[in-house]
């Protein structure tokens, strides 16, 4: 038996992640403890940024981001579930074509797709409004520049991130299990709740986590589609860094986002067995 070189192979990645993932997190925390509006890292640390983070109304953007992320996760899950079931059930050329068609937009920049959504929804001369006006002489309003538009954008962008993990999850449900439950007289609702959801849970968890976290950092949806109707936390952070030139405050808000993310991600990652999902 040869010596097991696993650790040696892991080493480059571990070093890279320590340098470019873990160390930057430490630096952000350090910055967040600096006095307001300072640009250097010193030992003069304190919690004043966190105190003003809660006192000065930065809670609202964070709430909006959390709410948007939660709603998007829920809605994409509801939309992706039947889609995943259908795509899994029907294999063959059509199903693979549809799967490829759904995957393709992920690789088109989200700034392009969101811009497309905004010209589609634009009032008056927008694609939808203009077409309806020209063909049927119908005038319609727009949801552009509202919170709803930002939410629609988030759902649109993140749907594939929910669907593909969910497809892996749905594939983990043995077909005979559903048959057996049906034969024993279970209703469709009971089959969904007692059999399908628990068995597909790993996929749902990965998809949900990915969607929620990506939404928490999402900014372009609110900027391009939401107008001034909603300010998300990443927009506030950017504003602190760029216009206010208050890096420590921006860093403190960033740390709050990291804390929320970590509180969700760490327990979930401990529970998910990616090995089992990927090794089919």
């Amino acid at each position: 038996m040869r010596r097991n070189p696993g650790l040696w192979y892991a080493l480059p990645l571990i070093v890279a992640m320590l340098l470019f993932f873990a160390a930057p997190m430490v630096i952000v925390v350090w910055y967040s403890l600096m006095p307001p509006r300072s640009f250097a890292l010193t030992t003069d640390i304190g919690l004043q940024n966190y105190r003003s983070a809660f006192a000065d109304g930065y809670g609202r953007p964070l709430m909006w981001s959390l709410l948007g992320a939660a709603l998007t996760t829920l809605i994409t899950a509801v939309l992706a579930w039947p889609t995943a079931k259908i795509l899994h059930r029907h294999t063959g050329r059509w199903a693979s074509l549809v799967t490829a068609l759904i995957a393709l937009p992920i690789f088109i920049s989200e700034s392009v797709r969101l811009f497309g959504l905004s010209v589609f929804l634009m009032p008056g001369g927008g694609i939808l409004a203009g077409t309806l006006n020209a063909l049927f002489d119908v005038q319609i309003g727009t949801i552009l520049n509202t919170r709803l538009a930002a939410l629609v954008g988030m759902i649109y962008i993140h749907f594939p991130f929910m669907l593909f993990p969910l497809l892996l999850g749905v594939a983990m449900i043995p077909a005979d299990r559903i048959e057996a439950a049906r034969d024993l007289g279970a209703s469709s609702w009971a089959v969904l709740r007692e059999v399908e959801l628990p068995l597909a849970a790993p996929g749902l968890l990965v998809g949900g986590l990915l969607t929620f976290v990506l939404c928490l950092g999402a900014n372009a949806e609110a900027a391009i589609l939401g107008g001034r109707a909603v300010t998300v936390i990443t927009a506030t952070i950017e504003q602190r860094f760029n216009y206010a030139q208050d890096w420590p405050m921006g860093a403190a808000l960033t740390v709050l986002v990291i804390v929320v993310t970590a509180a969700l991600v760490f327990p979930a990652v401990r529970r998910i067995d990616l090995n089992r999902m990927l090794r089919r």
Binding site: L13, M17, F20, V28, P82, Y156, L210, A220
Partner: protein
């Protein structure tokens, strides 16, 4: 069963709606690029390719593509290298810390991307490094390397270790085994990993926002020009950029075909 047909139709309509909804905005971009006015009035009174002519004549188009290409190619290189080595630790060998390694390595994927970019920006500035396309490469790689590692690992799970053992027993050297057995088995995974890395980097917006400095990659330029100073040039360059990435992917696929035919 008479209900069967209805259910099948419902399914077709559902999937059709999903696909249509995903593509409507993309079609809208193409339609918007065929106008010649700053304020869109659809249907256009004049349908024209002027915006594409303007984009072709504008040097910014080339610069934007070159920056995005530079970043994407570097990300591909870094993530294929680190991802292949990392996948060996992830899926090929069973070692003591493997389960912990597998969990820690996916963490960056589950992190908000602008936060990753910001954290890197602050670190760079603490070290006195000015952000440029090179720092954007680092930011992209932090998120993309774990994904590529997973993509390559999927292939490795089905890999039969006994082949390597057999080759060693037959007197092959470590290098020969790597070249003749391990790499060919890994090759499809490496190829898909490279494809993923390229496409994810090319289209990524949030990781570049803070990290690219004065070098503006394509998605970032599109994002800022959508908000201010809009003209049909913006959707035209969006369409061109998407086409270029598609062409590069086709080129990579053709290269793979050629290589496969040779061996």
């Amino acid at each position: 069963m008479s209900g069967g047909r209805h259910i099948l139709w419902l399914k077709v309509i559902w999937v059709g709606t999903v696909v249509t909804a995903l593509y409507l905005p993309i079609v809208s971009v193409i339609l918007a690029s065929l106008a010649n006015t700053r304020y869109m009035r659809f249907p256009h009174r004049v349908w024209t390719l002027d915006a594409y002519r303007a984009a072709a004549a504008d040097y910014t188009t080339v610069t934007l593509h070159m920056i995005s290409l530079q970043i994407a190619l570097c990300v591909v290189l870094v993530s294929v290298l680190l991802g292949t080595i990392g996948a060996m630790a992830y899926a090929r060998y069973d070692w003591k810390g493997r389960s912990l390694f597998q969990r820690l390595i996916v963490l960056p994927i589950f992190f908000p991307q602008p936060v990753l970019g910001l954290a890197l920006l602050l670190s760079m500035s603490a070290l006195g490094i000015a952000p440029s396309w090179k720092t954007a490469v680092v930011a992209h790689a932090v998120w993309i390397v774990p994904i590529v590692t997973l993509v390559i690992s999927i292939r490795l799970f089905g890999y039969d270790v006994a082949q390597e053992e057999a080759a060693f027993d037959l007197g092959a050297s470590r290098w020969q085994v790597a070249r003749e057995i391990t790499l060919p088995a890994l090759w499809p995974g490496i190829f898909s990993g490279a494809l993923f890395a390229f496409l994810l980097s090319w289209s990524n917006l949030p990781l570049s926002v803070y990290t690219s400095g004065a070098d503006t990659p394509l998605p970032l330029w599109l994002f800022s020009r959508t908000a201010t100073n809009y003209s049909p040039l913006v959707p035209a360059i969006a369409v061109i950029g998407t086409f270029v990435s598609g062409l590069i992917v086709l080129l990579l696929l053709a290269v793979r075909q050629l290589l496969a035919r040779r061996t």
